[in-house]
Amino acid sequence: MTTRFDKLGVVIAAIVAYAAFAAPFATLRANRIVPGEARSILEALPPTLGPLLLAVVVVAAVVALLKTPLILRLAASVVALAALALLIGVAGGFLTPEGNSFARISPASGFWLLIFAFTLLLADGLTRLNLSPSARIAVLVVTAAAIGMLLVSGSWNSLSILKEYANRADSFWAEGSKHVTLALGSLAAAVIAGLPLGILCHRVEKLRAGVLNVLNIIQTIPSIALFGLLIAPLGWVATHVPGAASLGVRGIGTAPAFVALFLYSLLPVVANTVVGLAGVPRAANDAARGMGMTERQRLFSVEFPLAFPVILTGIRIVLVQNIGLATIAALIGGGGFGVFVFQGVGQTAMDLVLLGAVPTVALAFAAAIILDAVIEMTSTRRREAQPA
């Protein structure tokens, strides 16, 4: 036997086999809240396209299963993903009964599993390519552009998520910008407050344990509880501090959400600043002082550049965490994509939940890729710089 199987390929092939032949490809519902009827690939697509899609995913799965050249695996995953992305739109149009605007077609578990399997294959291939940070960002941009083009072209318009979007286009972008503002704003505030606090903790040893423990405890408070705890003090501030209310400080709404996200962000920023500064070689610090750098010169030209990649890692954790956590802000009227999630849960309209969840996940994913690339770019020199 000369044929050998790729380990990850076995998993991918198994998922594809189940998803393509046993799981439903699309769900058809008479309206947006009733349970739906499952449709397989062959049922969901026109007679020519159904077998074609099956053929594509099976061939791609075989490519994944066997030990094949990297370039072939990448091509297979891209072709399969593109076919799935295009044909789910076709399925939407094919399944919608003529002139019926209440019916909802949504991708079902089979579709999502196929997407998952081939994304896994693509990610594995890209990892093996060992792409440079800028190339990774380029791949991200191309992917985003491709998805953007599909959205603009209208080929997905017959799908249920986009029907929910069409009904809420204005509020979608408003909540989206609120979401991003909340996540980035609290991150910026945490960096502005956390960096000096981290430097202080590094310099003053007595402060370190205390500050880090307090931040640790804050981190363990469940987010909903923290929102609740903030209502009273912020309400008090709004009524007693002149000008606070006009700035938007209130017991509920954006203010407590912002404060809570800020508090959650502090620990990673402060802890990583402390760790980063502690990792600066002693001899470099001693030499910097011995050659006549002032404390400030030493901080900015020796300690900070050397600690920067570690601090950036903390910022990455915070950004990804905040994009996810900002969803909960909707609970207390803080806005963001969470609004759709909670409305959807309230109406048992899964499509509406997805309208909130999918962009959140995409944002967090993109933020992680971009910041990972930036960290790698800044730390290349540092890693080389570690004494051998």
């Binding site: 070689p281 001899a283 470099a284 001693d286 030499a287 910097a288 002082r289 011995g290 050659m291 006549g292 750098m293 002032t294 010169q297 020796v302 550049p305 050397l306 020199r381 540092r382 080389e384 710089a385 570690q386 004494p387 051998a388």
Partner: protein
């Protein structure tokens, strides 16, 4: 000239440096020797005020070293440490330029000085200037560390075990380089080490420290001949004494008239190496030649053995 007067450093109840006074003549090398915890590094760090003394005064060319802010004082004094302390995120050229940049030299002058020092240390400025410290060998890193300390043409250079991390062969070379550069620039060097061999080799004067006190401060020959205490005696190493004494002198000073068979010894070889050569070759005498290759006379085992005896 560096005058240290009644310098002490106490941390709470422990006295690290206890009432030390010594004078270091300009253009000489003073080596501070001691075991770990003897306070030798603290004494060194009080000269450029990385450590502030509890009592006493240190004067550099007559001026109290507290008459300037600490960081300005330190810019005027070279500083090289064990493990070199190079900045890992800066290139070799940037590392060497550290103090000139702090002093605000113009770019052309900095580049000239960096190139000069790198050439002096046998590092090609084109090839090594843009590299990062981790791309260099240990010996090269050490040279860059010393070049960086010398960049702003300081009159005084403080060195804290600068050769401690080097292997014996590279250490020897580094010591010779430092001696040559000290002669060339006339820098006053204060060097801290725990290695008596290095102290005897490098020092115009040796200061022996024990438990914070300056036990003896004298020329190497005197330290070897008349150790002030049992501690100095141990540090010198009883069995090593005659050889260390010989290592201070050159063959030039031990030449006797007469001829001898065998391979000639250059006149600037140390007497210790000459004795080793005589013993190894099994001959009682060997001819000596000057730098120009002319015979000067001979050196004998008997003559060297007499010189290795305790001076009276």
């Amino acid at each position: 000239m560096i005058e240290i007067e009644g310098i002490s450093k106490r941390y709470d109840a422990t006295t690290v440096v206890d009432d030390v006074s010594m004078v270091i003549e300009p253009r000489t090398i003073a080596v501070i020797v001691g075991t770990s915890g003897s306070g030798k590094t603290t004494l060194l760090r009080m000269i450029n005020r990385l450590v502030e003394p509890t009592a006493g005064v240190i004067r550099l060319d007559g001026a109290d070293n507290r008459s300037l802010p600490g960081y300005e004082l330190r810019r005027s004094i070279g500083y090289a440490i064990q493990g070199h302390g190079l900045f890992p995120h800066r290139t070799v050229a940037q590392n060497i330029a550290t103090v000139p940049v702090l002093l605000g030299w113009d770019a052309a002058r900095i580049k000239r000085r960096v190139d000069e020092l790198m050439t002096l240390y046998q590092l090609d400025p084109q090839a090594f200037g843009p590299r990062y410290p981790h791309e260099l060998s240990g010996g090269q890193q050490q040279r860059v560390g010393v070049a960086r300390a010398l960049a702003a043409e300081p009159n005084v250079l403080l060195m804290d075990e600068p050769f401690g991390a080097l292997d014996p062969i590279i250490r020897n070379k580094a010591q010779e380089d430092l001696l040559a550069i000290q002669k060339r620039f006339g820098t006053t060097i204060i060097l801290v080490t725990h290695d008596m061999e290095e102290a005897v080799h490098m020092g115009d004067k040796i200061a022996v420290m024990d438990a914070g006190k300056l036990v003896q401060y004298a020329r190497p020959a005197e330290i070897l001949a008349k150790p002030a205490s049992a501690f100095v005696e141990t540090l010198v190493g009883a069995s090593e004494k005659p050889f260390r004494l010989l290592s201070l002198g050159r063959v030039r000073d031990a030449v006797e008239t007469g001829a001898a068979e065998g391979e000639a010894i250059p006149a600037d070889t140390s007497q210790r190496d000459a004795l080793a050569e005589l013993l190894w070759s099994g001959r009682p005498a060997l001819p000596v030649t000057g730098a120009d290759g002319k015979p000067l006379g001979r050196v004998t085992v008997d003559g060297l053995v007499k010189r290795a005896a305790r001076p009276t």
